[in-house]
């Protein structure tokens, strides 16, 4: 009986190794900032310099965020239906959005 205890312990450790390893990896990613959106998101995109985020919503709105401060810069009433795609273009000077209302807006 005594001889089986280390074996059981070793088997338990082997079973738990992937979970322990995974937990260690997950802890490398930390929440830096958390913002409250005006609605659920249907799409999102970073600006090319990584300082801003545009988030499209199912109600047609697009919210624009400053990543460093976590503050909302603006909310656009871009579409009458769900926003499918947002993209910063021309060195982030313009924002292109596409919605389920069959329109692309620049």
């Amino acid at each position: 009986m005594k001889g089986t205890t280390p074996l059981i312990f070793l088997m338990l450790l082997l079973c738990l190794l992937p979970a322990i390893s995974q937990a260690a990896n997950d802890s490398d990613w930390k929440i830096q900032r958390q913002m409250k959106l005006p609605a659920k998101a249907s799409t999102l995109a970073y600006s090319s310099d990584g300082t801003r985020l545009a988030v499209g919503h199912p109600d047609g709105r697009v919210s624009i965020w400053e990543v460093a401060s976590g503050s909302s810069i603006h909310v656009l009433n871009a579409h009458t239906r769900k926003v499918n795609s947002v993209q910063f273009i021309l060195q982030d000077r313009r924002l292109l959005t596409i919605g389920d209302d069959n329109k692309a807006r620049l």
């Binding site: 929440i31 830096q32 900032r33 409250k36 959106l37 970073y46 985020l53 988030v55 795609s85 620049l106």
Partner: protein
């Protein structure tokens, strides 16, 4: 109406009608590639808002249309993945099936017909999204049969060979490459999964219920979870 706030000018510069589903802009910001409601892909010149046709109508709705980093191809998926050469308008399909046998087997004995579905192979699965990396050297194909677990194939566009297949519980087909091409993230029902591309090993999974994207210049991942927008950063 012009709205100016915090130094940004959010006035509308133009509207393009008859754009459906999704679209992507070329790296130089000149062209928009997008589908019309009849499911043909067009290129719109964003300075003149005039258009030219890239593919015929009726290929089926696509969830993503994205330019590659060099602007020479449009990556999209109509159940199979395609790279469309913008200049020649020729489509380059990815070689998915190699020499696999069809999973369907039909046998007839007298007036009775038996249809055996067999086992569906991963290489017969549909491709729903094609996401190029920022350098354009890799593309991620979000694949799977409807109602079955999805998986992601990463292809090298130079050699046109698959460099890895990534699977995790409850993942979807939306993916994002880190700016240095070292990591791949995939959406999930409750968590976003992150893999190291070189090793194929899972690096992490973080809380988030779908839409996500890596930052273009930092080890940072934006993830949405219900009404929250969460920015994760890799601890150095």
């Amino acid at each position: 109406m012009t709205i100016i706030r915090r130094g940004y000018d959010w006035s509308e510069q133009g509207t393009i009608e008859e754009v459906a589903f999704s679209g992507g802009v070329s790296p130089d910001g000149r062209w928009l590639a997008a589908q019309d409601p009849k499911q043909a892909i067009w290129l719109w010149d964003l300075s003149t808002l005039k258009r030219e046709q890239l593919t015929e109508a009726g290929k089926g709705g696509t969830r993503n249309i994205t330019f590659t980093a060099d602007g020479r191809h449009v990556a999209t998926a109509y159940n199979t993945a395609l790279l469309i050469n913008v200049a020649t308008k020729q489509s380059i399909p990815f070689a998915m099936r190699e020499d696999k046998k069809t999973p369907l087997k039909i046998e007839q004995q007298g007036n009775q017909v038996a249809i055996s579905l067999g086992t569906l192979q991963d290489d017969d699965a549909l491709t729903h999204r094609v996401i190029p990396s920022r350098t354009g050297s890799l593309v991620a194909l979000g694949r799977g049969w409807y109602g079955r677990p999805a998986f992601v194939d990463v292809w090298d566009t130079g050699s046109m060979k698959r460099v890895g297949r990534f699977k995790a519980k409850d993942i979807g087909t939306l993916t994002s490459f880190s700016f240095d091409n070292s990591l791949l993230a995939a959406e999930g029902a409750e968590r976003v999964t992150i893999w190291r591309i070189a090793t194929g090993k899972q690096a992490a999974s973080v809380k988030g219920s779908g839409i996500m994207q890596f930052s273009p210049n930092a080890m940072e991942l934006a993830v949405t979870d219900e009404n929250d927008l969460i920015i994760y950063a890799l601890k150095q």
